[in-house]
Symmetry: C2
Subunit: 216 residues, 2 copies
DNA sequence: CTGTTTTCTTAATCTATGTTATTGGTTACT
DNA sequence: AGTAACCAATAACATAGATTAAGAAAACAG
């Protein structure tokens, strides 16, 4: 399975929760505990640094051109990161359903202006951790650094793999990749956004889908 | 200038040196000194860890599937990193003319099996630094860590920008981008490789080039 | 609940890029 | 030097995917 490049993001175990259902929020600690063992004190310390926030649909948390102060963990709902090209077209780099992390990784790490915008696709609840608090936590809980280091490495590999895929795969294959990586999103977000992610027009995605349906 | 994303790699100052000319090798220390100030002792320490190697054309230094032990600094000649897709087509991720660094960044950092192959395009001279020696140097010369951290961040941004470019630009624009990023390579490496980099067939690149020539 | 906006589908047409094949020119091998 | 292997150019033809347009369905806001 070439596409499970985000092991610590729990995309294999999580089930997308529609915003129309009552939300049962996983919190950051529960997710972290699945990957590293934490004492009660460490959990409390992390909790004290994390700010829980409710986000309305279309609300932006990372703005292009500004430094990304925070990395966000999605408790419920779904966010996306994208860049806008010179013709005004948006290109989606990543989706983040429940239990995924999202930010402009470069901006967050280097504390340089972001190239990306990060925005809620649906009403969502997220947990925010600032770069400063993150670095403080690394000092006090060294094993956390490993967790985030792997997260960053996966982000690097994921981006690189998508570049290679865009150079070598057809639109249909890229759509299948999307379905494997984000199974929970297929029927939950506008197709328009899926088209933006795989790099085709919404019209062409619609055509592909009817072809895929008929061939079954 | 959106494309100068490798500031510490000196691509703006370096001139590609043909392998047919006598080689005047810049060494690693000279390059590092341009970005951070080093004492005599620190220079000697770094020199003691760096192994200078001559590479014949087509010689591979990082093998897909094996852990990338080293990061390479190109003294003369040119290398490339690429991945091979399921149909046997090669896709070039990066070129490294003189004064650029190259490796499978993910494999090198995470010490996991590489997805990429790194190979000499022309007879080259390179300087190799192992991951272990690099980490030792970080302990003894902390400012080196900053230098390599920025290198890694630029690799992240560069890959991401290429992904966005492949989603939003035409082949002609991507060729122009290549020319800006690697001006020294345009007439020095086979066009076939340039085509692989920008993601078109060699035939189509040839067609584009005659169009560009006629339009001037 | 209703009018407005957004999204999805379908179809006709168009275009950028791929494919295949041929030719001639370089470079490498012995 | 001679042959093999590779590389660039060109052209005719093929196709994946874009564009445009229009109507239907869904989602949203007041």
């Amino acid at each position: 399975m070439r596409y499970l490049v985000y092991p610590v993001q729990g995309n294999d175990t999580s089930v997308y929760k529609s915003v129309y259902l009552p939300m049962t929020c996983t919190n950051v600690i529960t997710n972290l505990s699945r990957h590293i063992s934490l004492t009660k004190e460490e959990c409390d310390l992390i909790s004290s640094k994390v700010r829980q926030v409710e986000l309305k649909r279309k609300k932006v948390i990372i703005h292009e051109g500004q430094v990304a102060k925070d990395v966000a963990f999605v408790l419920s709902g779904c966010l996306r990161s994208y860049s806008v090209d010179d013709n005004g077209f948006e290109h989606i780099l990543q989706f983040a359903p429940a239990e995924w992390w999202i930010t402009d990784m470069y901006s967050f790490i280097a504390q340089q202006p972001a190239y990306l915008t990060v925005e809620a696709i649906t009403d969502s609840e997220i947990a925010l951790l600032s770069r400063k608090d993150q670095l403080d936590l690394f000092d006090q809980i060294p094993k956390l650094e490993r967790y985030f280091r792997i997260l960053t490495e996966n982000s690097l590999v994921g981006t690189r793999q998508r570049l290679i895929d865009n150079l070598s795969l057809t639109a249909k294959q890229r759509y299948e990749n999307f379905c494997n990586l984000y199974p929970s999103l297929i029927n939950e977000i506008p197709q328009k956004l899926i088209a933006e992610y795989i790099g085709v027009t919404p019209e062409f995605l619609s055509k592909m889908r009817t072809q895929l349906l008929r061939s079954r």
